[in-house]
């Protein structure tokens, strides 16, 4: 299984911080700043996990997630929704948009590690 992670967020600051943290943990990280860019990146290289921000201009994280999960060749890539709102992460929404897990911003490093272990180890 690849340890490659796709990090999707429209906030450059958050990408910078997360990228540094994940690289330090030994993961290979690619970043995308929009849902559209995320879909292009997924089509061009294999990923073991996608960390997807929820509120993005253009296509939202949920919409992007649904599109990826509905295309048979990429449906198996686990997608973790990263959101500041508990309301966005209810079990009903998880089923609706097909994401595999969620992280509530701002999350603890231990929570991030749990998610990484769950999908990448």
């Amino acid at each position: 299984m690849t340890r490659k992670i796709l990090l999707v967020d429209d906030e450059e600051d958050l990408l910078m911080v997360m990228e540094a943290r994940l690289r330090k943990m030994g993961y290979d990280v690619t970043v995308a700043q929009s849902g559209k860019e995320a879909i292009q990146k997924i089509a061009s290289e294999p990923f073991g996990l996608v960390l997807m921000d929820c509120r993005m201009p253009g296509m939202s994280g949920q919409e992007t997630c649904k599109i990826i999960k509905e295309s048979p060749q990429y449906a198996k890539i686990p997608i973790v929704l990263v959101t500041a709102s508990v309301v966005e992460a209810t079990p009903e929404k998880q089923v609706l948009f097909h994401f595999d897990d969620h992280l509530i911003k701002p999350f603890e490093i231990s929570q991030l590690k749990t998610v990484l272990q769950k999908f990448l180890e």
Binding site: E11, L14, V17, A84, P106
Partner: protein, 310 residues
């Protein structure tokens, strides 16, 4: 005829304003006076005046009992606006907080290179401030969710003793650091209560956190009894500074602070207001028995879970 024209002018000038300002009773009273005046000046026939009076009275009764539909719509719109506002503001605040927290942690964990002892001191200070900011934002969010009814409770039978024991375990170190005795005297025999585990854990956590903050020596203890009305009462008793009776009314209201001797001890000002909302959503009550210098006992009640017949 003069009286009639004058009446119309006054009516168009005043009634819409009254309605807008949601004083339906006043505007109806105005209409009653207007009809009486028109009848007296002979502009209006007695029968017609009687019909108009009846209609006005009915309108008055309906609006007094339920508020006019315009009022309700306006109030609903304001509430929706406020909910959307809070959610947007919180999101906009949480995004930079997440970046800040991440950046500080990267430096604290020396991922970006060595850190001197002096720098570490300031990084720790920044980290504490960010976590305080984060707590405040989540308190505002929680309060908004409870206020607007968007917080969904998952009600299940729960064992309060284990809820309390778990929270007590989390505070063991903090209590020991202050040389406080932290004890759980909730009996094994206590029946299960119907509640949302996460929400009640939050209430218990806030009560212990407060008790520890305002107690410098002595003890904090939990006890619980079953009351005659089918509710369990949980008491959190401390030997702290106590709360003057005059200040107790403010305790459970949002953003109202009780004057504390130590400014450092204040939180978001929402903790007990959130707790009150959570307990009230469960049908219980929350309160305090205290006097200045005598310690405090905070209590809350929750309904005993109904036994399921097999």
């Amino acid at each position: 005829m003069h009286g009639y024209n004058f009446g119309i002018v006054i009516a168009t000038m005043l009634i819409p304003k009254f309605i807008r300002k949601s004083y339906p009773a006043l505007s109806c009273a105005f209409v009653v006076i207007l009809i009486s005046a028109l009848t007296l000046t002979g502009t209006l026939k007695l029968e017609l005046a009687f019909v108009l009076m009846t209609v006005t009275t009915v309108v008055l009764l309906i609006s007094v009992m339920s508020g006019t539909s315009a009022d309700i719509a306006l109030r609903k719109m304001l509430e929706e606006d406020r909910a959307a506002f809070t959610s947007t503001v919180s999101h906009e605040l949480l995004t930079p907080v997440t970046a800040l927290k991440g950046a500080i942690e990267l430096m604290q964990d020396k991922v970006l290179g060595p850190v001197t002892a002096e720098q570490e001191k300031y990084l720790n200070m920044a980290s504490r401030s960010v976590s305080r900011l984060n707590h405040m934002i989540s308190d505002v969010l929680d309060y908004q969710h409870l206020e607007s009814g968007t917080m969904v409770l998952h009600l299940k039978p729960q064992d309060l003793q284990s809820v309390v024991l778990n929270v007590v375990k989390d505070f063991r170190v903090v209590a020991t650091d202050k040389s406080l005795e932290l004890r759980c005297d909730v009996p094994d025999s206590l029946p299960d209560v119907t509640c949302d585990l996460e929400a009640i854990t939050q209430v218990v956590t806030r009560l212990v956190d407060n008790a520890i903050k305002f107690t410098d020596s002595g003890h904090i203890s939990f006890s619980a009894i079953v009351k005659k009305n089918g509710f369990v009462e949980v008491d959190v008793k401390d030997s702290g500074i106590g709360i003057p009776i005059a200040e107790q009314g403010k305790l459970f209201q949002a953003f109202k602070r009780v004057s504390t001797p130590d400014r450092k001890k204040v939180g978001s000002g929402l903790g007990l207001a959130i707790s009150r909302k959570i307990i009230e959503r469960h049908g219980g009550v929350i309160g305090v028995r205290s006097q200045a210098g005598e310690g405090s006992t905070f209590f809350f009640t929750l309904p005993v879970a109904k036994e399921l017949s097999a």
